[in-house]
């Protein structure tokens, strides 16, 4: 090593200007000290970085949760945060992912669509989370989508939705329209379902009901249902007065063969079902098939007016599998242990199950990929199978959605569902409906997302 570094000299001279001319010996001693010091520092530094990197390998992986914990959607979304925390705790108890623990970063977008985008950015840019589990309403998903695409984040979205979306930054663990609404209406048209001939499509005025009903109308027309036998109607959010609409349904249902397809969301359901029953309509005259009423919503409702009406989902708490019994018991125990509201009276439902297996699917994919890097994880998710509480599911090979079974359930007095029909095997998801967009497909393996079918 060259001890006569001009550099060192300069430092020395600058440090002692005009004061003391250094002897050669002094100089040698000084510079060797400097070098030794540098060497030790370098060794320490290396140790430090090594230690740091070693530490980083064991540092928890950050996992984001983006659900409204206050505001109008809290009623539904809080349960999803709870189940994601439970899944993360389960994974951590078994040693985490890649030998690292998971650490939850929970934010509250308060059912405010702008805040959703802001909080998503915070999770991705500031907290640098590996994955986000979140969103319920379609509008919240639409508002965070550009953020996830810009920062190449990864979102697991657990709720049934209207389709017509194909983003490589989102995994949809809820149902596409062909996994819920379409089979439900086909069931009602079948002999077993009651051979209904008249359809009253009733929904809340926003994107999910409108798109779903657009697809259903196209499908009904394709199945030769005359246009006069299809009615479509929307109400504003929080609509309370269903007198006129129920009156219309009564006129529409006169003579029999009519059913109601309800995409009414949130707190309008109670007034609607109450009015329906109070005006003398029964589930046998005109059943209501609902796509947004699940066990968790029924928990807080007076069920007398709802008994006998139908719903379509991919999972019910009453599904009879050993892993589901375990799951339900675990969830109740988890809620009780953590002093969550209602404790062990809590129930599970379709979005809760979808949020739960989403966490596990992500974990399996990370283990397969050996890293949390988004592109690698995405490729590993394709085709991933998991024994979910409701039965085995499979992530699609290419289109970001989930292959799931479809179940029609009848509402019982205790707020649970009796399964009256079940699809044969898993139904393949179609983000672009064959009825409204027959020429479009979604594929991130052989194509770049949405493509035109030949």
């Amino acid at each position: 090593m060259n001890t006569q570094k001009p550099h060192g000299d300069e430092i020395q001279s600058s440090m002692t200007p005009n004061d003391h001319v250094p002897s050669r010996r002094d100089f040698l001693v000084q510079s060797s000290r400097t070098v030794a010091g540098l060497g030790i520092a370098a060794v320490l530094g290396n140790l430090g970085t090594w230690a740091l990197s070693w530490g980083a390998d064991n540092e928890p992986i950050k996992v984001g949760v983006l659900h409204s914990l206050s505001g109008t959607m809290a009623i539904s979304e809080v349960s999803l945060k709870d189940v994601v925390s439970m899944a993360v705790q389960e994974i951590n108890a078994k040693g985490g992912v890649l030998g690292r623990q998971l650490k939850l970063v929970v934010v509250d977008p308060a059912a405010n669509w702008d805040l959703f985008a802001e909080k998503a950015k915070q999770l991705l840019v500031q907290e640098k989370v590996a994955v986000v589990f979140g969103c319920w309403t379609s509008v919240s998903r639409k508002s965070v989508l550009p953020i996830f695409e810009e920062h190449n984040g990864l979102l697991f979205y657990p709720v049934q939705y209207e389709g017509e979306e194909c983003s490589k930054n989102v995994f949809y663990t809820g149902a596409a329209v062909n996994q819920q609404a379409v089979p439900a209406v086909e069931y009602l048209m079948s002999k077993e379902g009651g051979s209904y001939k008249k359809f009253y499509l009733l929904g809340t005025d926003y994107v999910y009901p409108k798109t779903t009903n657009k697809i259903l109308r196209a499908m009904l027309l394709a199945k030769k249902v005359p246009a006069a036998n299809i009615m479509e109607e929307y109400t504003p959010f929080h609509h309370q007065d269903y007198q006129t609409i129920v009156g219309k349904i009564k006129k529409f249902a006169a003579g029999g063969g009519a059913c109601v397809i309800s995409t009414i969301n949130g707190d309008s359901n109670v007034p609607f079902y109450k009015e329906f029953a109070n005006q003398g309509l029964r589930a046998e005259d005109a059943p209501i098939m609902a796509f947004s009423v699940a066990e968790d919503e029924l928990r807080g409702m007076d069920k007398t007016a709802l008994v006998g009406h139908l719903a379509a989902w991919n999972y019910y708490q009453s599904v009879d599998t050993p892993q589901n019994k375990q799951f339900v018991a675990n969830f109740k125990a988890y809620c009780k242990k953590n002093n969550l509201p209602d404790g062990d009276k809590r129930v599970t439902d379709d979005p809760i199950e979808a949020a739960y297996f989403g966490v596990h699917v992500w974990k399996q994919a990370v283990e397969k990929a050996g890293t949390t890097e988004v592109n690698a994880v995405r490729k590993a998710v394709y085709g991933q199978k998991f024994l979910a509480p409701g039965g085995e599911i499979m992530m699609d090979e290419a289109n970001q959605h989930t292959n799931k079974p479809v179940l029609i359930g009848e509402i019982l007095k205790d707020g649970q569902f009796k399964v009256v029909w079940r699809s044969k095997g898993l139904v393949k998801p179609e983000p672009w409906s064959e009825y409204t967009n027959p020429d479009k497909g979604c594929d991130w393996v052989n194509h770049q997302g949405t493509y035109k079918k030949a």
Binding site: S70, T72, A74, I75, V78, K191, E192, D205, E233, Y234, T235, P236, H238, H239, Q240, D241, Q243, T244, I245, G247, K248, K250, K251, A254, G255, G256, G257, D267, V270, P271, K274, E275, A277, N278, Q279, G280, R282, E284, D285, E297, R299, G300, M301, D302, K303, T304, P341, D342
Partner: protein
């Protein structure tokens, strides 16, 4: 020993009674078709044939079971159904439905009888006509009898005997039967075709005449129903706005937490309901709702008193600050309710307010709405009596009109303010109590109603109770008048536009306050 013996005895007694009831229910029907309870060899064979793979054999067996069977087959069929595959279940469904419905025609419950009659009319076979007629002859409940007669005629209309069909069409027209309209329409269409026979044409003519009568009655019944709906919505708007009319109208306090006072009333109802579930015998449950009325009023009034003493008192005459402060209070209350009660709480309406009364063909008036209409009328009478017929009311009016003068004359204005505010809050509590019958109980409940209440009070003219009444009638009536043609979304939009336009022309509302107070 002794006790268990006793229990055994009573159990046997109950069993015997139940068996008798069951026999009465099914036996009287079964008796006329077949004397002995065990099926004949023919039916026995049919029960086996039903499971056959061959389509023809199966169909024949099903027909035989419907024509010659009776309710005693039900347990056997249920047994078959329990381990059947889907196609067999589908095949025997009409058999089971037919016999179950026939048994239900003599059920002690009126709703069950009516359901059975309607189902037989819709999916039954001509064999059901005499059963329905026999049941109708014995039926005492007017609308159940109507359903039975209607179903019998519908089946007759669907038969292939032209004379019977024509007769049925005419009778259904007489009955103004809405359920018959689609079938009659089909007959008209069949008669309108070029290949129609003379018989079909005559039938089509009769059907067309019947449809006309049904439709003209439909216009009447919808008018009556629309009127009722308008009144019902108005009564809900009125009951929501009465408290606000006093707090905002008379006192000039813009209380943004008024909706949350309704929420308190609703939750008070819920708490009373839960108490009844826990501490009182089940037979008392239905009376919880009446017991909840004072609870809701007092809870909300008490909270109003506290709110007035701690927040509003310091902000009289400063509307902006009052608005902000009470808005803050409302947010705190919403979140507090969410934390304590969770998101949705179920209130079971008492059984005497479930369902409704059918008054005319196609006109059905739900009990809960009738109740709210009655309640709002009572509330208005009560408020008028209090304000204009009592000494307290006199003081309230005096303070409202001229505070300093009243103070000079020795009226304790502070106390009057506090009481008036508490009374207005209590009325909000009553509104919350009543609204549990039609809507949800959830933390955001008040937010859903507050805008409408302010709209009613402002349109009616601040400070005038009569204005509030007229405005709620006008807005509710107009809303229901427009909704059938415009839909719920645009109906609401148009109402808001109309209110804006109206307030542009008359900023002080329907009934403007005149005189000194108006300027001050």
């Amino acid at each position: 020993m002794d006790e268990s013996h006793h229990r055994m005895k009573s159990l046997i007694g109950i069993g015997v009674i139940a068996a008798c009831l069951w026999w009465c229910a099914t036996g009287s029907v079964a008796a006329e078709a077949q004397a002995n309870m065990s099926p004949s060899p023919q039916l026995e064979q049919a029960l086996v044939d039903v499971s056959s793979e061959q389509e023809g054999t199966r169909e024949q067996a099903v027909r035989l079971l419907i024509e010659q069977g009776d309710a005693s087959l039900l347990p056997r069929l249920e047994e078959l159904r329990a381990n059947a595959d889907r196609s067999l279940r589908m095949a025997i469904k009409p058999v089971i439905d037919t016999w179950r419905n026939r048994a239900n025609l003599v059920s002690p419950d009126a709703d069950t009888r009516r359901t059975a009659a309607t189902d037989l009319g819709m999916y039954g076979r001509p064999a059901a006509i005499p059963w329905l007629q026999a049941a109708a002859a014995k039926e005492s409940h007017r609308w159940v009898r109507y359903a039975m007669e209607e179903s019998a005629l519908l089946l007759q209309l669907a038969s292939d005997n032209p004379a019977g069909q024509e007769q049925a069409a005419a009778k259904l027209g007489d009955m103004r039967s809405q359920n018959a309209a689609p079938a009659l329409q089909a007959l008209v269409q069949a008669g309108g075709g070029e290949s129609a026979t003379g018989e079909q044409k005559a039938l089509a003519h009769g059907a067309a005449a019947a449809i006309e009568r049904i439709e003209s009655w439909n216009v009447w019944s919808s008018t009556i129903e629309t009127l009722f709906r308008g009144i019902s919505l108005s009564s809900i708007l009125l009951i929501m706005s009465l408290g606000l009319a006093i707090v905002f109208g008379l006192m000039g306090v813009i209380n943004m937490a008024h909706g949350e006072l309704m929420m308190i009333g609703a939750y008070a109802t819920f708490v009373v309901q839960e108490c009844f579930k826990l501490y009182f015998p089940e037979s008392w449950f239905d009376s919880y709702y009446l017991a909840a009325l004072p609870a809701a009023f007092l809870a909300a009034a008490l909270f109003g008193l506290i709110l007035e003493a701690t927040v509003i008192r310091f902000l009289y005459g400063r509307p902006l600050e009052t608005m902000l402060a009470t808005w803050g209070v409302s947010l705190i209350l919403i979140q507090a309710a969410r934390m304590y009660f969770g998101d949705l709480t179920a209130i079971t309406a008492p059984s005497w307010l479930n369902g409704g009364a059918q008054v005319l063909v196609g006109v059905f008036l739900p009990f809960n709405r009738l109740f709210i209409i009655g309640l709002s009328i009572l509330s208005v009478i009560g408020i008028y009596a209090l304000l204009f017929r009592s000494s307290i009311g006199l003081r309230v009016r005096a303070v409202t009109q001229n505070r300093s003068m009243s103070a000079c004359l020795g009226i304790p204005t502070r106390k009057v303010d506090a009481y008036t505010f508490a009374f207005g809050s209590g009325l909000a509590g009553i509104a919350g109590w009543a609204l549990t019958l039609v809507g949800n109980v959830e933390p955001g409940l008040g937010q859903n109603y507050i805008v409408d209440s302010f709209m009613v009070v402002v349109t009616g003219g601040v400070g005038k109770l009569a204005g509030t009444i007229i405005a709620s009638l006008g807005i509710g009536g107009l809303n229901k008048l427009m909704e059938p043609s415009l839909g719920a979304v645009y109906g609401k939009v148009l109402i808001l536009v109309l209110v804006i336009l109206f307030l542009q022309r008359r900023p002080s509302g329907l009934f403007a306050v005149k005189g000194r107070h108006a300027e001050g």
